[in-house]
Symmetry: C2
Subunit: 210 residues, 2 copies
């Protein structure tokens, strides 16, 4: 099996959100799709290790905030490489409540759902959600996962369905939180002390030399 | 609910194939996604009215041929707007058998699966497939659904999960098979008799004036 074939599948980039006893929670997702138009139903695959998984199951509702090419990549890092278990990701994220669900403001559309079914896999839960509300919030081009990888040089989180282990080149500096490989023109050692990972905002000290 | 929000979700374009008692069958699909990497598992949503749905259920296996930007749009029309019930779509489609499943040659990668679970919606079946084989067959850029719509001016079939009824402008000519709206510079009436729909290859006579 050539795992690179999976890279040929196309996806968007989403923040899937829910509530944890009144506290907004969420994580980055790419494996989401519409299942049927009547009644409008969508699915999203969420890792069982993600705190948001348990919250969706308990709350019975989730929302997808659809990121655009203009959305800050920092949002992807914040929601993709940190856990709502020990961090309030919404403390620094603008959001609005739509159809009683938290929706990230820096997105181009949102879809709010009531869970109507789940499907189990060894590592992920597939939540099937009947749409209770949806709207377009900007005319910006939706971000594809390919754009995130190619243009933003983003990495795939270990909890993503599409994760494949990579071995960066020796001598390169890699973010220990999100896996971003530093490839800038300035030598890594010469970067200012307040420099931060462009994907997940971790400080310089979070980087390890391969 | 603003249904246009669903258009902000990103997809690839796939031909999902299976066997009908030894005869290869298939249909166009866009709602497919990887669910987990261990073990590698993908899902695809197929309309219950599609003959291929019944064949996947009976055969217990399916393959996804991932189309690229270089794939002929005619394949999308052939597999998306006609039925394997009354037409042998593979009579004019080059294919190879991989992991005992038919795979369309004019694609950039394929993923072969054994059905391990299904999820029911009113109109579509979600097939969850454990991957039994996958490979990359060309370096061409995978086709996104947005590319199919924007660049190829393709239409969405009535059986697709993402179908939204459209009303083309009055006076325009619309293909009765695939819904393609003719917008060329030559007046429709002046097109040569052997002109065919660029999406589904139907003859000029299949077009209706709105």
């Amino acid at each position: 099996m050539n795992e690179k074939a999976f890279h040929a599948m196309s996806y968007g980039v989403y923040i899937v959100t829910s509530w944890d006893n009144g506290r907004p929670v969420g994580c980055t997702a790419n494996c989401a799709a519409q299942i049927t138009a009547s009644p409008a139903t969508v699915m999203v695959s969420v890792n069982k290790d993600n705190y948001t998984n348990k919250c969706i199951a308990d709350c019975g509702h989730f929302a997808l905030s659809i990121l655009s090419e203009n959305s800050s990549p920092e949002i992807i890092g914040r929601f993709g490489f940190q856990s709502s278990r020990d961090r309030d990701k919404f403390a620094e994220t603008a959001y609005a409540v739509k159809n009683s669900l938290p929706v990230v403001s820096d997105s181009c559309a949102y879809i709010c759902c009531k869970v109507v079914d789940t499907m189990d896999s060894p590592t992920h839960t597939v939540f099937l959600g009947e749409v209770i509300g949806a709207d377009v919030t900007s005319e910006n081009t939706p971000m594809t996962y390919a754009y995130y990888h190619k243009v933003l040089k983003g990495k795939t989180g270990k909890n993503a369905p599409t994760y494949i282990k990579e071995s960066p080149d020796e001598g390169k500096y890699v973010c220990s939180v999100c896996g971003h490989v530093y490839e800038g023109n300035i030598p890594f050692e010469d970067l200012p002390d307040d420099w931060r990972c462009p994907i997940c905002s971790q400080p310089k000290s979070a980087f390890r030399k391969m």
